[in-house]
């Protein structure tokens, strides 16, 4: 029987240290990662992303809970017996070995035949487009090239799962964009399950099949990028992924009464009492003051960003709000400071979050 799940963690809990000094790095994480998926762990620094990867790689054993690989319990299996490989943030290339020997390392440890090793190394070198660098030492390569060697080295033994711990954070912006596309290509070509760690929400949104947003050792939400962006489960997720306007209000039937006293339509089912509304800046539209069903606002400031113009608004009770409007060809949206306008939210764009 073959299931579709590559990695499953069951209430994985990890504490560093003991007694009163114990730090809980992971707090009962349950997650299922499908075969062939590009899965991203996203969260601020210190939320436990690296710890989760280390548990999956076998560098640490969980304090409690289980790790399953293709349905098999591998919780206490040492790293050298797990068909899982890691691309380290610092690359961790062996400085005393050439590029080819770095890539061949795992194959030799596994006792593959000489011809098999040669063939695989050649295939890996061409996969990451480093054919002419085979006999260089890692120190003689640029950061981007070292990155690609690290990838080739980890992919050579064809692991069931590839773990990548913030692999792009050391690269400059241009190279990072290039490597993002490269990684995506490698994942599609090899069909290997990628578990990718980043604290960069944009990187997560552009690359992933699914994202798990983490905070303080817990997974808050798992979903496709669109789902997470459009339907964040709570204020933290909404705030961490993209820019968001937060408005507070109370549920009144199928509407929400804002603190400014005005009513807004929203999907209120399952919510009651005090709630927070989250609205993305690009979902805020501006119309002439007094238009029916619009909120009254005053322009505080407009900031030109090229394709976009950000319009800072203030509601009747001084709640601040940002609208992102496409800049017209003239570059001037024709709104000036102090002007009274109406604002409308696109239908379905208002997310209701419990307090």
């Amino acid at each position: 029987m073959s299931s579709a799940i590559a990695i499953e963690t069951r209430r994985a809990l990890k504490e560093y240290g003991t007694g009163s000094h114990a730090v809980r790095a992971l707090d009962g994480v349950c997650v299922r990662i499908d075969k062939g998926e590009f899965f991203t762990l996203l969260g601020p620094s210190g939320c436990g992303k690296t710890t989760l990867l280390r548990l999956i790689a076998g560098f640490e054993t969980p304090t409690s809970g289980q790790i399953l690989l293709h349905g098999k319990n591998i919780t206490t299996v040492p790293p050298n017996l797990r068909p899982v490989n890691t691309v380290f943030q610092s690359y961790a290339l062996f400085p005393h070995l050439t590029v080819a020997d770095n890539i061949a390392f795992s194959l030799r440890m596994l006792g593959r035949s000489r011809s098999d090793v040669l063939q695989t190394v050649e295939r890996m070198l061409s996969l990451v487009r480093l054919e002419s660098f085979a006999s260089r030492k890692p120190q003689q390569l640029s950061g981007g090239q070292q990155q690609r060697v690290a990838l080739a080295r980890a992919l050579a033994p064809e692991p069931k799962v590839l773990l990548l711990d913030e692999p792009l954070s050391a690269l400059d912006l241009k190279l990072r964009k290039e490597m993002q596309r490269e990684l995506k290509r490698l994942q599609t070509e090899t069909g290997i399950t990628f578990i990718f760690v980043t604290h960069d929400q944009e990187e997560a949104l552009t690359m992933s099949d699914r994202i798990a947003v983490m905070r303080s050792g817990k997974i808050l939400q798992v979903g496709a990028p669109r789902e997470i962006y459009n339907h964040p489960v709570d204020r933290f997720v909404a705030d961490f992924i993209g820019e968001t306007n937060f408005l507070s209000g109370r549920v009144e039937g199928d509407k929400i009464r804002l603190s400014s006293g005005e009513l807004v339509a929203a999907e209120t089912e399952g919510h009651s009492g005090s709630v927070t509304l989250a609205v993305r800046p690009e979902q805020v539209g501006i119309c002439p003051a007094g238009t029916s069903d619009s909120l009254t606002a005053e322009i505080v400031d407009t900031v030109y960003f090229g394709t976009d113009t950000h319009c800072h608004l203030s509601l009747a009770d001084e709640t601040e709000l940002v609208a992102r409007l496409q800049s017209p060809p003239s570059g001037n949206i024709g709104l000036s400071r102090g002007e009274k306008v109406g604002i409308k939210f696109n239908p379905g764009a208002v997310q209701v979050l419990n307090e």
């Binding site: 790689a57 560098f59 040492p78 790293p79 050298n80 017996l81 899982v84 490989n85 890691t86 380290f88 610092s90 961790a92 062996f94 400085p95 005393h96 390392f105 795992s106 440890m109 596994l110 890692p138 120190q139 070292q146 080295r153 980890a154 033994p157």
Partner: protein, 274 residues
């Protein structure tokens, strides 16, 4: 240690600095210069110069006792260096690659004990211990000297190896395990190759330390087991000959070569490794 602070305060600008520096250098090196110079003396005295000659070198080597003592010294130094370096590698792995524990300072002190306990104390202690063993087993061979030298050479081999291990990125060993290396393979294919310069450096320091030892050798050796230093000491007690100068000159040459190699090997360590 910046250039600015050098400018603000420099020891070399203090009055009398040059005088003191020169005096110290002369005191350190004049005896050695004289010793080496008189190794090339044509005459029989290590004090009266009678012209240049190389004949003391072949003459020293023709002396059976010198030859035997030299070979004995080299056998002991090589064996002791191999044993102490092997132990030092294990000790360094044990003290850097395991979780920090309260007992670690104690272990560290134990390993470096020969550097702190006066040599004469160790010598007497070994004499007594080996005395027991000799009576019990009847064994009289070189083993005692090799064992004693191995023991006091350990810290000299240990220190450079430990320094290198501490400076090494542990992620590399984790990466090896991730790439299917067993703990032994990770040591053999990653840790050891990267440790090699320090192992060689430790080996040479141990070798020189053993080659140079007098006190412990004097106490531990059986009759007829002179090492080069104890032989030379015996010679000087009788009458000074230029032969001793010649042997010393060769020893100095060897030491300079080994220390230069040590310097080059440990300098490698400070190079950035990415």
């Amino acid at each position: 240690m910046t250039i600015v602070s050098d400018r603000a305060f420099s020891v070399s600008r203090l009055p009398g600095f040059a005088t003191i520096a020169v005096t110290v250098l002369v005191m350190l090196y004049l005896p050695i210069v004289l010793l080496v110079l008189f190794a090339f003396n044509a005459g029989p005295s290590p004090a009266i110069w009678e012209g240049f000659s190389l004949h003391w070198f072949p003459r020293a080597w023709a002396n059976e006792q010198v030859k035997e003592a030299t070979i004995r010294s080299l056998v002991i130094a090589t064996s002791a260096a191999i044993i102490s370096t092997s132990v030092a590698v294990l000790a360094a792995l044990g003290t850097t690659r395991r979780r920090k524990s309260p007992g670690q300072t104690f272990v560290y002190l134990m390993i470096n004990q020969p550097l702190m306990v006066p040599e004469i104390v160790t010598a007497v202690a070994l004499l007594i211990l080996f005395g027991f063993i000799k009576v019990a087993t009847g064994y009289q061979g070189l083993g005692y000297l090799i064992l004693a030298h191995s023991a006091f050479c350990i810290p000299f081999a240990y220190l450079p190896i430990r320094a290198r291990l501490e400076g090494m990125d542990i992620t590399l060993e984790i990466a090896a395990a991730d790439l299917y290396a067993t703990p032994w393979q990770a040591f053999r294919h990653v840790t050891l190759p990267m440790l090699m310069p320090a192992v060689a450096a430790g080996f040479m320091l141990a070798f020189i330390t053993s080659l140079d030892d007098v006190i412990i050798s004097l106490f531990v050796k059986s009759a007829g087991q002179d090492t080069l230093p104890t032989y030379m000491l015996g010679q000087i007690r009788r009458n000074m000959t230029v032969e001793v100068n010649a042997i010393s000159t060769l020893l100095i040459g060897l030491t300079v070569i080994l220390l230069t190699a040590f310097f080059l090997l440990t300098r490698e360590r400070n190079r950035p490794q990415k």
